[in-house]
Amino acid sequence: MRAAALEVAGLSKEFHVRNSSGWGRRALRAVDDVSFAIPPGRTLGLVGESGCGKSTLGRMIVGLIPPTGGTIRLGGETVRASRSAAERRGIQMVFQDPYASLDPRMTIHEVVAEPLRINGLYSAGKVDRLLTQVGLSPDAGQRRPAQFSGGQRQRIAIARALALDPRVLILDEAVSALDVSIQAQIVNLLRRLQRDLGLSYLFISHDLSVVRHISDEVAVMYLGRIVESGPRAAVFGAPAHPYTQALLSAVPSVHRRDRTSRIVLEGDLPNPLDRPEGCVFRSRCFKAAPRCATEAPALAALDGDHRAACHFAEPTPRDRLARLAPADRPEEKTASKEDHP
């Protein structure tokens, strides 16, 4: 079997934050024991709500935040904590905000040339080729970021990320700030580039429909952990974890049959400083049982590559999600509010 383009194992990040009293510090587990592998030329979609740690995960992989535990392997080779230039080049990132990711004082040519200059690889022709590759004219190089729209800026950011010929791109909410029509163009550009260059993507997003469109595999993150992962068809077609089921039931649909029910989660994401004991999702789960409070479920295989971290995981086809709606629950859960001091 070929080595995965990107493989992370047991990746964790703890931040130490001051107590509200000002005395002492507490550990905040932003990312907790995350493992996955992305084969060459494939896309892993990473889904989760705001604050679940998906951006921290992306920034650890690209080397902006040092992990507190776990390993990152690029093409089978372990990436050290203090990265060499060559190791940095292999993994590149496209950021969310196309208005903040380009230095307003630079021309587009300078923006795209910067990574080449840092690494002593600059040639004007290469910059022009990169701009052409993302669908911009090389003439655009003389203008400044303020003269471009959000979608065009994101193309420029992609060209910059491609400058060092990476094998893996981390796309952190890369299309979330764009209009829907522009999103589709950028997603199509990303797919074309993946086909042409054999890139692997870690596509981080909170937008399920975009993730569904672009991903081969999907991982769902909740409070720093992956709670479900698997091939796109399995995760979207027959979600097994209650959180995934709730997320998918909330996706707007044009089919009337699908609109009949929603699983509505109560409460907000718990304060990560005060993670529930046992299963992290139990405070909002409609399947929560006493066992969940004592025993944290492991990410266990259900069916081939389809895994879920739930004691009561059962793959449920989407059209039957309705039966799981909270109204059917035998007992009301009570734990949701206590996590908010």
């Binding site: 080397g63 590149q92 990132m93 905000d97 230095d103 910067e114 990574p115 303020a146 003269q147 060092l164």
Partner: protein
């Protein structure tokens, strides 16, 4: 910095004031009558616009009969030279310390900000008076002292901007592509901080001219017979009731330079600064 809500007529007026005083400073020394030192007691205290012995005194003469126009022009050169040099010194110190504090944070930041607080706690005019009392009044000492004691506003603004810029995605992106601290500071942080620093410095320029004038007025700055605007005000003080123009004219010169520079600097929104995107859009529309 404040955007410019001021109408264009006030801008033209500011430009006119600044242009007039700069023209006086630059052009007058090349005119044939220019002599700021020649004394002629017989034609002392002539009012502006007086003609005597076949010579026309546009701004009159002082109590020693020296031509006021010539003296105001030379004094302007002296004042501007001191102020520009002091601004340059403080700009370099402030930007350097501010960027290091904002970028490295931790102990560096604490040290720099502690220094800044210390500096603010002691009025700079007091520092200059104390040091001058020991070293004696001297143009170069004065310039350096003013430079060393005026860095705080640059330092604070530069630190605040560096703090925000280091988390900007274009800086993070450069970091993931192998850029080190030096690269990021030089290529991203400094260029984005400089426009604000230049706006600040036009404000500081006015401040320093006023402080230099005050010190010269006290006899601690520029020494006679070299004129400075502050010194001229001080010399004219004893004739204030009979010939107020002796003090009013150099005072007017200070006002024209300082006010002109400041009004114009508010107009100046830096091209391409992080917050200039909006300004650029406004211009295009």
């Amino acid at each position: 910095m404040m955007p410019a809500p001021l109408g264009s007529w006030s801008m033209s007026f500011a430009a006119l004031m600044l242009g007039t005083i700069l023209a006086v400073i630059v052009v007058v020394p090349f005119l044939p009558f220019y002599d700021p030192f020649e004394q002629d007691i017989m034609s002392g205290l002539l009012r502006p616009g007086t003609e005597q012995d076949g010579r026309f005194y546009v701004l009159g003469t002082d109590f020693l009969g020296r031509d006021m126009l010539s003296r105001i022009a030379l004094a302007g050169r002296v004042s501007l030279m001191i102020a520009l040099s002091a601004v340059a010194i403080s700009l370099v110190i402030g930007v350097l310390l501010g960027l290091l504090a904002g970028w490295f944070r931790g102990p560096v930041e604490n040290l720099v900000m502690g220094l800044a607080d210390l500096q603010l706690a002691v009025p700079r005019i007091l520092v200059v008076i104390a040091v001058t009392a020991v070293l004696g009044p001297d143009l170069i000492t004065l310039t350096i002292l003013l430079g060393l004691t005026s860095w705080v506003s640059y330092g604070r603004v530069a630190r605040a901007m560096a703090l925000s810029l280091r988390e900007r995605e274009f800086v993070l992106s450069a970091t993931t592509q192998g850029a080190g601290t030096g690269w990021n500071l030089r290529r991203h942080v400094l260029p984005n901080v400089m426009p604000q620093m230049l706006i600040l410095s036009s404000y500081e320029l006015g401040q320093i001219i006023v402080i230099e004038a005050a010190l010269s007025y006290l006899g601690l700055g520029v020494q006679p017979p070299v004129p400075s605007w502050g010194l001229m005000i001080s010399e004219g003080q004893q004739f204030l009731e009979v010939e107020p123009y002796l003090s009013l004219l150099p005072g007017l010169a200070i006002f024209m330079l300082v006010a002109g520079a400041q009004f114009l600097s508010q107009r100046f929104t830096p091209e391409g600064a992080p917050d200039a995107d909006l300004a650029a859009m406004r211009r295009r529309r």
